[in-house]
Amino acid sequence: MSTPASPQIPDAEGALVALAERMRAAVAHDAAFVGIYSGGAWLAERLAAMIPGDHPVGYIDVSYYRDDYAKSGLKGGAKRTELPFDVEGATIVLVDDVLYTGRSVRAAVNELFDFGRPDRIELAVLVDRGGRELPVQADYVGARLVVARELSVVLSKDPGGTLSLAVEPLAGN
């Protein structure tokens, strides 16, 4: 589905190794990894296995905290947010596949605070594609990529668990 105009798409597994490398030295040994569904959830699990320390893994679905509900409504398929650790006082690394406008991260941070007051929240992303609409930046980035607004960057996982990135026309437009 990649279009001729699309730039060089980074290899997802390679970007994951680079991301883990950057996190290894800096992340607290007991930091919880919280993945934003669905791509971020896969990455949080992989990172917890790659980075030394004791990292509880949680999952967050930001559907109820999104800022486009009034415009787009509630689309099906929301998943249960699961945070199997005490958010109060925790160090949390929020994990997402693609950082773009920053709106999902805003929603995720809001949602985390409804579970308690974390000591610290950091952000790790596989791909930073620029285009921010909010004052949000990542602490750890696997790869950077510049793509046109009408394209979306999609992470997928094959049955064997291997991750891959693709650039696709924006769904619904």
């Binding site: 109820y64 905290y65 787009s72 409504g73 249960r80 947010t81 409804d114 579970f115 308690g116």
Partner: protein, 319 residues
Amino acid sequence: MRNPQLNANGELTHLLTLEGLPADVIRQILDTAEPFASIAEREVKKVPLLRGKAVFNLFFENSTRTRTTFEIAAKRLSADVINLNIGASSTSKGETLLDTVDNLVAMNADMFVVRHSQSGAPHLIAAHLNAHKRTHVHVVNAGDGRHAHPTQGLLDLYTIRHYKREFHGLTVAIVGDVLHSRVARSLIHGLTTLGTPEVRVIGPRTLLPTRVEALGVRVFSDMREGLAGCDVVVMLRLQSERMKGALLPSAGEYFKHYGLTQDKLAAARPDVIVMHPGPMNRGVEIDSAVADGERSVILPQVTFGIAVRMAVMSIIAGN
């Protein structure tokens, strides 16, 4: 004519009845309810989906329990809830239903949760709003006359799916006063739409609608025969006013034949679940040993009811 519950894109904008509602819309509601069930476990027991929306509970007929669960559901979605006890105000001054609605729309209502003793009242309000292009205002039927109680039907479906996973192999019995029960009607429509192979109604002929078979159910007047092999038993509330008329001899007589006891329940499957929409008449339609027994899921039904009502409100308000 288009189904008045759906917008031009086939999305749910009012919830009036489960009759004629497509299976994928019902499944969407049940799927949406699932993650809402866990919100009560959070430090902050709400999500901001309906922040700034005004939900009006319009109860023309009393029901503390249903009104409370709608109120909790709306508040967990961060909506502002306004409870109107209409019976005691406007109508007694002669205002019509639609004038009341128009006044509340002028106060910027976003959603009406309507309970009315007249069948069709929520439908009338929804049609009125649609006709006046007030498509941003949504209606949920919280029980109208003998017609429908769709959120109760949905929470019953949610409960059955929670314990039995799917509907395809199930035998479900609905027991008691089906004639006067909007709960039974909504549940029957939901069960058949989702492909339940056998839905039974059990009760004295005087409390079953004539031609109830047309709804796609099997009819039994003997309790043990009807309960044989059932996966799910739904007991209906026997309203005390039924005993005053000629429909039934006495509560004791009713209990003897149709009251659910451990003994009668033994005819069902060993893993049967027992449901009741509440409020229960212990010793009339259900024995305490069953109501409080290990097969009873009556209290989980109440908890699931909040999640299901959150799902309904958040879906229609977004469409």
